[in-house]
Amino acid sequence: MESRERDIRIAVRGLHKVFETASGQVVVALDDINLSVRVGEFVCVVGPSGCGKSTLLRLLAGLEQSSSGEIRIDVARSDRPVSSMIFQEQSTFPWMTVRQNTAFGLDMRRVEKRARDERVTYYLQKVGLSDFANAYPHQLSGGMKQRVCLARAFANEPEVLLMDEPFASLDEQTRILMQEELLKVWEEEGGRTVVFITHSIDEAVLLADTVVVMSARPGRIKATFAVPFARPRGQLAELKLRPDFGQLTYRVWEVLRDEVLSAQAQEMKQWAQSR
């Protein structure tokens, strides 16, 4: 029992988030969220749009404060950052080269120059951007910019990687390759805990050890699925061909379907009220 306690990296207990919109409407974004993430676990959170999954991630990242409840992230090494986030939007700093972007977290932690350069070179090579180290983001495609964000987050060596629909704005072909790339880098690294937000069931099942399904607003955790596929997962397109992949995505969809419908109904009601 005690050893299992120690295996927990993120423990969320009774988390609530209430906020007020500009028009004065009170919105319950998260309602009593309880979640445990083991050390080295890859968790994907899926939910209908507007269900507060991004809010959950921003709370985990410390970018926002919760209304009540507790978030505990266990830190094995105090010299490392607790979490690094990969955002959905383009978040590479336009005024820094690819190399400077990747080194940014390490710069802020005052990592010694040689160790920093070594690590940056290593991760740039990992994501295939070695030849673009001195390019500026505006010279890169959307997929390449997200690679920079991956390298930047990994190079920072956080206890937890937080990803907020990082591939949502990419075209489908690029997205598949990026998913494989992410898994490759992550599997080779070993042991880094990931919380990954997505609205794509396919993506969640392809990447995760555990898929968490959230309800429509107010966001609650509705179901949790263990994903049985072995790692390394290799070619994700092959994984998609397996019948158990199809069955699992269907089971997730069954749970999610009602929530998406209820989210739509909420939207319609809001729209009607605003008239």
Binding site: S84, P94, W95
Partner: protein, 277 residues
């Protein structure tokens, strides 16, 4: 041999000839544009020269450009030109550097901190509308007749023109870069140096551009009334002596100064802002 011929033939796309023709036409047009751009001011001067020779304008007020240039050469040879020019340049430069750095520093602070904005904004907003040349007498009282009063006047004018674009620049930095910076541990001075300053730099340069232009106006005004050297003094003094050629020579120098400073800023911007937001 025959196969290679075919292969090579296949590699040349059918539209290649047309493409090359199009490119040659574009290059010719661009060359012509450059020539016209360079010669149009010269043509204007030539027309002016002819009009002056034909006495179609009052040559007491609009002397022949060739005479103005001649005057300029004489002043250059005697050293008078360089003496006035260097004095004005130093005044602009010192005033600009102090005013602009002050504007950037306070602007970053006000852009990055709500408290700084709440405290300083009413003060800045109430001083800003005063035409800076109007406080020159006050500055003369405080700093005396020496060079300091000139630097201070220029610096104050430049300060405000850099301050406000810097504030808007920082406030306008997309939220995502602030979040990403915070998430990666940029706090305090790191935030201002690595996020706020570079993020606001394109906007700051707009301030520099306007500030430098106004610095030129201010320094000429100051030199009209409160100096015994500088290009502004040269123009004013020439008017008093009714030496119109010398007056126009001063104007010519000012025009060149304005143009060159703008080019210098372009070059600086290219080096300091190599990205596009």
């Amino acid at each position: 041999m025959g196969a290679e011929q075919v292969a090579r033939g296949a590699r040349v796309p059918a539209g290649m000839e047309a493409l090359l023709r199009e490119r040659r036409r574009r290059q010719r047009r661009e060359r012509l544009e450059r020539i016209v751009t360079l010669t149009s001011p010269l043509i204007l001067l030539a027309v002016w020269e002819v009009v002056a020779i034909l006495q179609l304008v009052d040559v007491r007020f609009f002397p022949r450009p060739s005479l103005v240039v001649q005057q300029l050469v004489t002043m250059g040879a005697s050293g008078e030109l360089w003496q006035h020019l260097s004095v004005t340049l130093v005044r602009i430069l010192v005033g600009f550097v102090f005013g602009a750095s002050g504007g950037v520093v306070i602007g970053l602070l006000m852009g990055g901190s709500r408290w700084a904005r709440a405290i300083l904004n009413p003060i800045m907003a109430s001083i800003y509308p005063i035409p800076k040349i109007a406080i020159f007498p006050l500055i003369l009282l405080v700093f005396g007749l020496g060079e300091t009063s000139k630097y201070v006047t220029v610096a104050i004018a430049v300060f405000f023109l850099v301050l406000f674009p810097t504030i808007t620049g920082v406030i306008g930095i997309p939220r995502i870069y602030i979040d990403a910076g915070e998430n990666l541990g940029a706090r305090g001075f790191d935030f201002y140096r690595r996020i706020a300053l570079p993020g606001a730099l394109p906007s700051i340069f707009t301030g520099f551009r306007v500030g430098l232009g106004v610095a030129l106006i201010i320094i000429v005004g100051v030199e009209f009334v409160g100096a015994t050297s500088g290009i502004g003094y040269l123009i004013w003094n020439s008017w008093q002596l009714f030496n119109i050629n010398r007056m126009f020579a001063g104007l010519l120098v000012l025009a060149a100064l304005g143009h060159l400073s703008s080019l210098a800023l372009d070059e600086m911007q290219k080096r300091l802002v190599p990205w596009r937001l």
